[in-house]
């Protein structure tokens, strides 16, 4: 793996639980700078939770989440908000502000965090929208956009402040093949053009593997495999193979735990 100085986010021995349910158990993940890192795993393994932990919206029970030198869970409110200015996040739903136009949505982070003049903000917003191919949609309201377009606008908003890290929460879910292709292309191209670090959380195997430089596979609170997409394809583990090939039954069973079928059927209704 990369030398330490090229690690932008270093998660060390982090545990997190919700109620009595352990979501992460002593997990360690390193995100190399300037690369596309994918975090994959079945639904319900807390991939979105991981992004929220990195963004400081949740606090781990133990362990460190280092953004360069800063331990995110230990930051005060002000420092945390400063750290967040270095991160952009693309939410699964897009999470556009429904009371603002597309233009205002993208301009919002600039208006809040910079003292730029109106003209400059306009230029930046139009450039960001151009990058996602939606400059023509600047005057539309979020309700007038298709799902794929909304996600692209949200992406333009996430990169408005030129963040060091862009986090994508399930960017491909619920997209038609064309929108999916556009997004895959965009994420890769933006990563190269802007030189930021990308973290993709996803369970869309084909799309994610096509753009990821390094992949962590998470299940049951642990990293069960890691490596480049090629290395991962060669991993000799039932669990990894089941996920990568989408097999319906395997270590992750098809059936939810239940008593024996025959017994269940023969049982009298109480």
């Amino acid at each position: 793996m990369e030398p330490l100085s090229d690690i932008i986010i270093d998660i060390r021995g982090m545990s997190f639980s919700r109620g009595s349910r352990t979501i992460f158990d002593d997990i360690s993940i390193r995100v190399p700078r300037g690369k596309v890192t994918a975090i994959m795993g079945p639904s319900g393994t807390g991939k979105t939770t991981l992004l929220k932990l990195i963004g400081g919206q949740l606090k781990p029970d133990s362990g460190q989440i280092l953004l360069e030198q800063d331990d995110i869970p230990k930051l005060g409110r002000r420092e945390l908000f400063l750290a967040r200015e270095r991160m952009g996040m693309l939410f699964q739903s897009g999470a556009l502000f429904t009371d603002m136009s597309v233009f205002e949505n993208v301009a919002f982070p600039l208006r809040v965090h910079t003292d730029l003049t109106g003209d400059m903000i306009r230029d930046i917003v139009l450039m960001k929208l151009q990058a996602v191919g939606l400059r023509g949609a600047a005057r539309l309201m979020p309700s007038e956009l298709s799902g794929g377009m909304a996600r692209r606008v949200a992406l333009a908003r996430a990169i408005a402040l030129d963040p060091d890290i862009v986090m994508y929460d399930e960017p491909f879910t619920g997209q038609d093949p064309i929108a999916m292709g556009v997004l895959v292309n965009l994420i890769r191209r933006l990563n190269q053009a802007l030189g930021h670090t990308s973290i993709i959380v996803s369970h869309d195997i084909k799309e994610t593997l096509s753009i990821a430089d390094y992949v962590y596979m998470v299940a049951d609170g642990h990293v069960i495999a890691q490596g480049s997409p090629d290395e991962l394809a060669a991993v000799d583990s039932e669990q990894v193979r089941q996920f990568m090939q989408g097999l319906p039954d395997g270590p992750v069973p098809f059936h939810y735990p239940a008593p024996d079928l025959m017994q269940d059927l023969l049982q009298e209704t109480p």
């Binding site: 963004g55 919206q57 908000f81 952009g88 739903s93 999470a95 429904t98 919002f108 982070p109 965090h113």
Partner: protein, 260 residues
């Protein structure tokens, strides 16, 4: 039996915890870090949504309640030959009781429920989370302006309710039933005291404004972000604020007029 005690304790604990969270929300959004300059345009926008758009329901209800009071008052008082006192009856019942209470109840239904649903949906669609990730505190940006808008609007709406109500009473009593307008207004002027009656009514409405909006923004912010959770939160807003208004009204009335 043990189960029953356990559920009782559990629900009491969760209510207490919710109350604590509500206090924390109020503290963090209003008192700890006020930002008057960035908030002003947002506040004006919310004053429009919460206050101005509630005007129709307040004016219409105020008018009808005043008219009913005039009519009912007349039919009772005319038996004793003191129908001239209709003016003071209408005015006193409005400014002391009906205007603050009915306005607050209508406000909870019209504006409180809308606030809860709006904030709840913002939570469900991750807009609050995305504000946080952009580095903007949703408590300041979303909660604080809405709270202040409700707090400022309700007393003003209450005064409007009273004025329209008195006018409605006058239309029925003077123009329709033919009470001499000089005695109608003179009796009213004579018996309504500014501090005792008008000011106390406004104090009530200030308290109701704070409580109703507090409940509304808290329920929205604290809701379970699903369609079911939002509908429950909206219901809770209307039920809790109505109960709080009626209960507080009794307490405030006892404090204000108790020794009369």
């Amino acid at each position: 039996m043990l189960d029953w005690i356990q559920t009782l304790g559990e629900s009491a604990l969760s209510r207490l915890a919710a109350f604590g969270r509500a206090g924390q929300l109020l503290m963090q959004s209003l008192i700890a870090r006020p930002a008057p300059f960035t908030m002003f345009p947002l506040l004006v926008q919310q004053l429009y949504f919460v206050g101005v758009l509630s005007l129709v329901i307040i004016v219409v209800s105020g008018g009808f309640i005043g008219m009913v009071l005039g009519l009912q008052g007349y039919t009772i008082l005319v038996d004793y030959g003191s129908e001239q006192a209709v003016g003071q009856m209408v005015a006193l019942s409005l400014v002391r009781e009906l205007a603050p209470v009915v306005t607050a109840l209508l406000f909870a239904g019209r504006a409180g429920s809308a606030l809860t649903a709006e904030i709840g949906l913002m939570k469900a669609t991750e807009q609050l989370a995305s504000l946080e990730m952009i580095g903007v505190d949703p408590l300041r940006r979303v909660i604080a302006p809405r709270f202040w808008a409700g707090f400022i609007s309700l007393p003003i709406l209450t005064v409007i309710f009273s004025v329209v109500g008195v006018w409605g009473g006058a239309i029925v009593a003077v123009d329709w039933l033919g009470i001499y307008d000089g005695s109608f207004w003179a009796n009213m002027q004579h018996s309504v005291d500014f501090y005792e009656d008008v000011l106390n009514g406004i104090i009530k409405s200030i308290v109701f404004g704070a409580v109703v909006t507090w409940i509304a923004v808290f329920e929205g912010y604290d809701c379970v972000p699903t369609s079911e959770g939002i509908s429950q939160a909206t219901t809770r807003t209307v039920v809790f604020s109505s109960l709080a208004v009626l209960g507080l009204d009794f307490i405030l009335t006892a404090l204000m007029f108790g020794e009369l």
